[in-house]
């Protein structure tokens, strides 16, 4: 009986360590790409009367479906008992948002644009059937906007 508890606890601790290592690895990759795409400027507004951007621009959409791992779901389950900040899901959403933005910025860079205007976000929960907590639970994150081309010095 004691051995059973011991192994369960051990598996849980190992699981948590693995989960943290795994996402740290993921974050590091994102940070590197973030540094490379920092030059692209994002705006939630339109260009207005600005003269430094030209051409018709192009619609860009980027998305990702990201799922939390088993350990995060377990932790989220615990955290939901007490309410407050659900750090497990916090991380998933933050990473999904970062990833969608990175992809958008990379697309813009590939086209030679450094300005994205009228940026919009969209989040959707993906469940096996709505209201059913079993099965696949993931979050889809979409970022879209218009890439305009113009002078590089523009802010």
């Amino acid at each position: 009986m004691l051995a059973q508890w011991f192994f369960t606890a051990l598996a849980l601790v190992l699981g948590v360590l693995w989960s943290q290592w795994r996402w740290k690895f993921y974050d590091r990759g994102q940070q590197q790409r973030e540094a490379r795409t920092r030059i692209v400027r994002l705006h939630t507004v339109g260009p207005g009367e600005r003269q430094d951007v030209e051409l018709a621009g192009q619609l860009l959409t980027a998305s990702i479906v990201l799922a939390p791992d088993f350990i995060q779901m377990l932790l989220a389950g615990f955290q939901k008992i007490f309410g407050g900040r659900v750090t497990a899901y916090d991380g998933v959403l933050r990473r999904a948002r970062t990833e969608a933005l990175l992809r958008l910025k990379e697309q813009a860079l590939a086209l030679g644009s450094r300005q994205i205007f009228r940026l919009r976000f969209e989040t959707t929960m993906i469940e096996n059937s709505p209201g059913n907590k079993r099965g696949v639970v993931a979050v889809e994150f979409v970022a879209y906007g218009t890439a305009l081309f113009g002078s590089e010095s523009a802010h």
Binding site: R22, A56, V65, D69, R120, P130, V136, V142
Partner: protein, 104 residues
């Protein structure tokens, strides 16, 4: 056809306004993707199959919207918005809508 999320096209005048155009599609994931995604849900991370599926659907929704705009004689769609809704049993509806216009 120019597609943009802006209300107008910088440096161009809108000559004619055709009103709302929209395109939508409902897609369900197929079972192979579903099983893979189920496995992936244990280790977490990106569900690439779903990302692609939804991205394809979004392109199709946009394409349908563009077809409608073209049928009206428009050469641009401005103020485009996208939406996704997860509906019953692993199916998702994707909608794209905007305003069809003719610019110079």
């Amino acid at each position: 056809m120019t597609l943009t999320t802006l209300e107008s096209i910088p440096g161009k005048k809108i000559l004619e306004h055709f009103g709302l155009v929209q395109g939508s599609t409902i897609r369900a994931k197929h079972i192979g993707r579903d099983i893979m995604a189920g496995l992936k849900n244990i280790v977490g991370g990106e569900l690439r199959g779903y990302t692609e599926l939804l991205q394809e659907s979004r392109q199709e929704a946009i394409h349908r919207m563009v077809e409608q705009a073209r049928g009206m004689g428009a050469n641009a769609v401005v103020n485009i918005r996208l939406g996704t809704a997860s509906i019953a049993q692993g199916a998702a509806e994707i909608i794209a809508y905007g305003t069809a216009v003719r610019v110079e």
